[in-house]
Amino acid sequence: MIAFICRRLIQAAIVMLTVGLVAFSLFRYVGDPVQMMVSEEDSTATRERLRESLGLNDPAVVQFGRFAWNAAQGDFGSSYRNRRPVSELIAGRLPATLELVLCSGLFALLLGIPMGVYTGLHRKTALAHIFQTVSLVGISMPTFLTGILLILTFSVTFNVLPSFGRGDIVDLGWWTTGLLTASGLKALILPSITLGLFQMTLIMRLVRSEMLEVMRTDYIKFARARGLSNRAIHFGHALKNTLVPVITVTGMQLGSLIAFAIITETVFQWPGMGLLFIQAVGNVDIPVMGAYLMIVALFFVIINLLVDLLYYAVDPRLRIDKAVAGGHTT
């Protein structure tokens, strides 16, 4: 168990370092930082002073070390675009993205799992076929198209839900939330569905196929031979075994949601990190791009670690008290 955690932590560190390296390379080698920060009139001497003060003449290793040290403390320099500290920018946008991701994730799980279980157990009913069709369309629609169609329907045609922005938000000091106001909640609906639809269909299909697999196992057959009720078999035995592999995938999907938030935020002009990142890509605003990468990498690493731990807690076969290689035994 301890060995397992250590391995995961080391892997996490490697990931962070790699991403850090990539982000640092972005900073250092793509475009000229000094060029971005000075105006036309500044003399060469000013540029040299700036270069010196930024430490751009030091050896690469030293620069990377400094970069890593600063990053660990949350200091990513200032945006090329508007000179504000990047960490401030990101911190301001973080709650918006996280709330969106949370709502979408809940939407995906709360609808995807039951639908998947239903279509797995009742394969031939009309409702199952409807669900199947919905899932097929769901994974064939790109996120942005879903968003556009939802806007067309609910904002333009029926005018019941807003098509951009977060609505009224409440400032809790270090966090801003849209969950406490009616307009905030309304503003969350369309973006959450947009972001969550793809994931929902993925989860539904995964649960369905796992369910079908599980229902064919020997232990389910034996459970039937023992005369257990359908309820006990479906929801006691089959469901539990189905959900175990679903957990890993769902956890990774959470990370995916953070990435796909970029698209949703673009379509709905949602003031989150994703929109910030896209604007940064368009403006070649390297510090923001690099910082976004590091933050997202951190999230992924944490999520992956939590998922692994969760898997460990749920599957008794993994709780053997000797070193478990890699941690995945399926």
Binding site: L26, V30, F144, S256, V284, V296
Partner: protein, 310 residues
Amino acid sequence: MNARLALEDRIRRVYQSDVAFSFRQSPVAIGAAVVALILIAVALLAPWIAPHDPFDTRTFSLVDAELPPFWIAGGDPRFPLGTDTQGRDLLSLILHGTRISLAVGFFSLVFAMAVGVTVGLVSGYAGGATDAFLMRIADVQLSFPAILIALLIDGLARALIPDGLRENLAIYVLIFAIGISKWVQFARTTRGSTLVEKNKEYVQAARIIGRSPFVIMVRHILPNALGPLLVIATIDLALAILTEATLSFLGVGLPPTSPSLGTLIRIGNDYLFSGLWWITIFPGTTLVLLVLSVNLLGDWLRDALNPKLR
């Protein structure tokens, strides 16, 4: 003569196989295949069957801009699906756009497979430090969703390529970016199959005879890995097409001068509220049809190849 009989026999066996039978039985699979084939044909023949050439600036003008589809008042039968903001025929744009979307999706997949299968074969066959190293890289990359990697590489390329060349190279950059984001799954699957096959007797025998590792990997191990690879490829083709559309929609994909379906939707999106809905809806529908038919075919193929579900 013998060769011809052998070929006929093979074709008959394939036709009578369970997979082909399952196909003939499933109206959905047949429908999806028909749609997919139509779209592919359209895409390949676009330069010849499109009524107008949307790339030749001499053939369109702003006079014809923003015309609705011909069945709506104000439309022009010359432009059956309407025109965009620059006066280009939407139908032709869609035909060419489908071609580009399919091309990027397909070639990025080919690229990902080439890289992934090679890495997987080498990694599985060589084992040891090479294997560990390659798989570490794979693990690190797997911690990220593909779209982010594609975005990143795309963004990098844009920053590094000088302005003038950016538009021309866009398609290659996209193929590269999307391909790189997807090789890992192919590598892992191939590696898994390689590890399984590596220990089988026929591989040991080939080694003893003195066959070179390359020949062993390609002629013996690879065919056995094809099944699961095919399954992943069908899922990934749909995802690749979607990824390209997404990147183009975000503005970092194909430019409006040689637009893919995603780019068209982006152009249309800016004018959605002004009522120019056709610029978004028609490319959108085409995109969904394309991805849907690929997904349906992939679903059917997976079910047909899965012996447990028969």
